[in-house]
Symmetry: C2
Subunit: 363 residues, 2 copies
């Protein structure tokens, strides 16, 4: 006979709000330390760190650090969270490093609705140089800021007050994530003009799942000394979840409700971005639909009315539906990997919620 205990195990796990506060506190102190050390070199160097801190403070849900902390607890880690915070914070700093360099590559100067590092430098250098040099040197400073953040992710991991073997293992997780994401970023960039582009699923796996899901989750589990088999299932969970997230993000970038996502829905269309959605379109659409699509997709001066035509084509061809089905497939695979993890409550439920949060539809 199966017995139901009167008091089921109800270990409280970290909430996303708690994680955010912990990481914000820790990283604010980190940036203040850096600004102060940089000021010893020169006020200009302090400014670089101030701009970086401003970017950090402007936004970000700290979802990656939350996953590290949650994953640590789920795998049975029982140290106080303060011991794990440096590793969780390293995820956020790595994310910021990648955003900073990604923005240079994408020629963006706005992030979280404010000027990013290159954007802040453009304002700061204005008047001292010609426009081309302003842009060049603003990018140069942003390259250095990204380098410092990348190094900072390792530095923070090195600050873990844990057995040194664990620290070395955590460092490897970071290196693996960076190897994958840099490859994914290159493939994504080249997909716009390459004769042999990588497919969107592969780009999503390497550019997004690697460092946004697998890295944070595996880092937490490794710090809890999870066995190898567990790490494998967790990696499968993170990989499927990350791909589902990215495909959903691609859909939202075209069909999303801007008032909810905070993002324009014309950017990808104007840019002619290759995504899973467009891959499906070219697989499913009629020749006539393809002709109409080609004339509009990637048109820099496209009107909102024509963008709506593009959306209708993506809808009518079945591409949108096919993408949603693929997102479901990856969500199901994530759920299957989750089963293999055999997590206790409330961790199983918390991981289920990660799937919901990463793939919830707001269209």
């Amino acid at each position: 006979m199966k017995t139901t205990p009167l008091t089921p195990p109800v270990a409280a796990h970290v909430s996303i709000d708690e994680a955010r506060l912990l990481v914000n506190d820790y990283l604010s102190a980190y940036f203040v330390e850096k600004i102060s050390n940089a000021a010893l070199l020169h006020p200009s160097y302090a400014r670089l760190w101030e701009y970086t801190y401003a970017l950090f403070s402007a936004g970000g849900k700290r979802f990656r650090p939350y996953m590290t902390l949650l994953s640590y607890q789920a795998a049975g880690g029982d140290r106080p969270l303060s011991d794990i915070i440096p590793a969780a914070s390293a995820q956020e700093i790595l994310h910021l490093a990648l955003l900073v360099h990604d923005d240079i590559i994408d020629r963006d100067t706005v992030r979280y609705g404010v000027a990013n590092i290159a954007g802040q430098y453009r304002q700061s250098y204005a008047g001292t140089l010609n426009q081309e040099d302003i842009e060049h040197y603003a990018n140069a400073a942003a390259i250095l800021a990204g380098d410092l953040l990348l190094s900072g992710a390792y530095e923070l991991t090195g600050r873990l007050n844990l057995p040194a073997n664990d620290v070395v293992e955590a460092t490897k997780t970071l290196s693996e994530a960076i190897f994958a994401v840099a490859g994914g970023e290159l493939l994504d960039t080249e997909s716009a003009f390459s004769g042999n582009p990588a497919n969107a699923e592969s780009i999503a796996a390497h550019k997004t799942a690697s460092y946004s899901f697998i890295g944070p989750l595996v880092m937490g589990a490794k710090l809890a000394d999870a066995p190898e088999q567990y790490i494998e299932h967790l990696t499968a969970f993170g990989s499927n979840l990350g791909i589902a997230f990215q495909l959903q993000d691609d859909v939202l970038s075209v069909f999303g409700d801007s008032s909810i996502t905070g993002k324009t829905t014309i950017g990808d269309i104007r840019e002619g971005k290759r995504t899973y959605l467009t891959e499906q379109f070219y697989r499913l659409a009629s020749n006539e639909q393809k002709e109409r699509f080609k004339r509009l997709y990637g048109k820099v001066t496209i009107s909102e009315a024509d963008a709506e035509v593009v959306r209708t084509l993506l809808q009518d061809s079945g591409a949108r539906q096919a993408t949603h089905e693929r997102i479901s497939t990856f969500s199901i695979r994530a759920a299957e990997a989750l089963s293999e993890l055999q997590l206790r409550p409330p961790y199983h439920e918390a991981f289920e919620k990660l799937i919901v949060l990463s793939t919830r539809r707001v269209t």
Copy 2:
């Protein structure tokens, strides 16, 4: 009575040629591993690593790894050198990372006499894009390559098969060097147009001494568990040596014998680069000399005859002599720090040779 032993201690130390071979072997295997792993993602990603390997193979004296190995032995480290090679190799990979990003910042596409990473990508992307986009995406790929190399320096340090505490300590040395060099690079870049530029000595200390001398030397000594006092003297040695080296490099960039240095002597003049030499010129020159100098220094289309006028001005003003005196001062300070280290033979002599090699005059 002082006794002289019949057989003085004559431990053979690593030679620069041995160091170069060891590091080249180790890093060649590293690059081959990366190319092969990248190929599993996509041929385009393998190409990025191939270009990086090509740049690595095109040049470099591996002086930094040599210093790490020598410093390890000098501080009494007695493990086989193969145990220390990953840390020594990390110095070279960090150097390469900085070169790659530095070249983007300096808009250079040639390094070691061959196309650098951006340069190789420009050739590879030619024909598929317009010129502006070719340059942009070539730089984008080079940003990613530099990121991977920066991460690689940490990854290699993490591969040290040594007590994990030593590995964590070595990682900190790397973070400190990167913090300094990024600051130095920013100050150097901004010195061309800033209203409050950093002085050349400070830039040399942070941009050059930090990661080219202090980092490699301290890494080796820390891995040999050298005491803190020793690390302090070694840091002073590396700092003074690095500044002397950079000032000497500035002189050679203007007055050097191109057939020996392999570098043009008109680059800095054409670029109008601020160096210790020009700082001294503005301190020592007459108003009339300054007027003539200003008309020529930084002139993009300057002739060799006019460049010779610049050299004569730097000479006649006493700036060149003042710079040589300053190089001597830093060399002497390095020698004083060396005395404090109280190295046994043959290490004392090997460190003396580092001073000679770093500051030898070829003008």
